[in-house]
Symmetry: C2
Subunit: 377 residues, 2 copies
């Protein structure tokens, strides 16, 4: 029985949470362009453009640089499923939710996980990181460059150097850094970096950029067991995207168009200019937050430029503040969870959302919502 369905009418949100961030009009336009098939020569032209532009934002010359057809979490699973072989020892730097998720995935994929644990929002120093790796002698090292649950940035040079000394490959989660702050895959020595499209890149969610170093590919080619996750098997994806264009799955032209356009915008801005924009807006936000009498959860120098975690003032219910922002102003921010539940706000200024105007808007509306919830300096 035919029925009539009312038109789709999404609310207009200002997205200032931990992602997705705002999408530029040009990307929306690309998403509505006519699709082509998954083996169409035009799609592979776009795949090649996306590869070149992703290499630029990742800071890598890795020929194996693609986008997995899934969200950021599928990028994490592709990294873990392909590079953690059953029995591998996996050393994880654990100071937030996404390190826990890597640990969970590594266990599911047959890895034996050892963890260097710290409180959520802390980071690891060079010496202690090196010592941990050289003591544990793992086959795989994993760390989160940009911890979305805490707002902390983890430098990676010492980790990668020690891992390579120990003969391990390094997986780095760059979900909340890519496109908003320097990832520098090659300079840092990261072997496998993955990210998402909906944060620093300014595209809707749906794909997971991933890049793999030649030394990691050697490990992959030497695997004794097949990767259990067929959909994320990077050897099969290699044959589809990089090699003989052998059919694997039906890549979405729509998502590739969106990602291509988001990356084109970045190339036109210039990646260094973009980093500087994120840094400046982050610093302006922090000044404003401190002027309101709030403190930042993460130590200075280790804060993400893309995602800010001011502490919730004593006695304020963060859920009520977030509800006011959403319902009265149409602004999405997020709260903390796990050990940080009720303790921090998570406020993103990433990609197209990182503007001076948004810094002013969120500071003003946050102040009024905090006051309405009883906050006094």
């Amino acid at each position: 029985m035919p029925e009539t369905i009312p038109p789709l009418r999404p609310p207009e949100r200002l997205l200032l949470g931990p992602g997705p961030s705002m999408v530029p009009p040009r990307v929306y336009e690309a998403l509505s362009k006519p699709i082509v098939g998954h083996l169409d020569p035009f799609l592979f032209e776009v795949v090649e453009e996306v590869r070149r532009l992703l290499q630029m934002v990742f800071g890598t010359a890795n020929p194996f640089t693609i986008a997995v057809s899934g969200t950021g979490s599928s990028g994490m699973e592709a990294a873990v499923a392909n590079f953690v072989e059953p029995g591998d020892k996996v050393a994880v730097f654990a100071a937030g939710y996404f390190c826990d998720r890597i640990s969970e995935m590594a266990q599911r994929h047959g890895g034996s996980v050892v963890r260097f644990e710290k409180g959520w929002g802390e980071t690891f120093g060079d010496d202690e990181a090196r010592e941990f790796i050289l003591r544990e002698k793992p086959q795989v090292v994993a760390y989160v460059q940009a911890e979305t649950s805490t707002g902390a940035f983890q430098p990676g040079k010492a980790i990668c150097d020690a891992a390579h000394q120990a003969g391990a490959v390094v997986i780095a989660d760059c979900v909340t850094s890519l496109g908003g702050m320097p990832v520098k895959v090659d300079e840092t020595g990261i072997d496998i970096a993955y990210s998402c499209t909906q944060k620093g890149l300014g595209c809707p969610p749906g794909m997971a950029p991933i890049t793999v170093s030649p030394r990691a590919l050697e490990k992959l080619n030497a695997r004794k067991t097949p990767v259990q996750a067929w959909y994320m098997d990077l050897k099969l994806l290699d044959a589809y995207y990089n090699g003989p264009r052998r059919y694997h799955h039906t890549a979405s032209a729509t998502m590739f168009y969106g990602l291509r356009e988001a990356l084109a915008i970045i190339a036109e801005e210039g990646i260094e200019n973009r980093w500087e924009r994120h840094r400046a807006n982050h610093l302006a936000f922090v000044s404003g937050i401190q002027a309101l009498g709030l403190r930042m959860h993460v130590a200075e120098g280790r804060r993400l430029w893309t995602l800010n975690t001011p502490k919730v003032p004593e006695g304020v219910d963060d859920g009520k503040v977030r509800k006011r922002l959403l319902e009265e102003h149409g602004i999405e921010i997020a709260g903390g969870f796990g050990p940080l539940a009720g303790k921090v706000f998570r406020i993103g200024l990433m990609g197209h959302s990182s503007t001076q105007a948004n810094v002013a808007r969120i500071l003003e509306t946050l102040e009024s919502a905090l006051k309405a919830e009883g906050y006094r300096r």
Copy 2:
């Protein structure tokens, strides 16, 4: 260094291959609507609408009816990864490529696979299907309702009845049937059915609708080992989409908008009317093909209404014909592969592509391309 990237200019294709099919303007419009976050109340409204509309096209009352954030192949892997526990015996009806892929995935996920094999394009009769299942006594039975590599439809009632008698759950691949011909999950007795968005539904690729029966959920809840594929773990997806809205991954508002709109169009057409449209256009195509002197690969009564596989006439190079259609007319069709390489064309008339005008257009252009390649009746 900033650079200027030329605008994205996709070619206008008429998509008459095995998918993706043409996307209606209303769906493209939905894809460019402003996104919301993955925990936004509005997104969950859309998720609920999508659930209800998917239940209608699947023909099921299963409350567990969602869309996985990946392409159709991720739906296949979600089905296999969750319902094939290591050591399970998996009985596969194998007469085409996608049965082989299910077998491959089942092996990777620790299943012990037994196959009832036939030539590509053949189907299985009720008695022989029943006998195979009752002899093998598997824990899981898998069959492909609509085999995209061959164009054959496999009825499932006898398979499902025998499987349930043997205590097995049934996985059915409905990638090329959903939205274009009756899937009838509940009436057939299918426990786990999955599909894609880019064929009968008329949306770009990017999501995998999946529905799970209460009896299959019991098997899932009784699993002794965790599902290795975290990204496709249906218990975690259940807690996100069906239960307490617990964060799992960042679902794409964009893809949900597109799917919602594609399903709304189906509801407005009426699912039975839509099936009839596909049936009528399929029959018109077959008449036209026979008038050209070509024969169909699949036996009458077992042909898909969505995907036609006429045989390539003796002495004609199918690759050259396809190249002419693409380059001279902007029409995408596909060839056969595996044992059917060079032997069949695969011509889709599905979703928005299934029109009388497209039947006329493909018959006319195919005739002229065949003649240009030396074909004489």
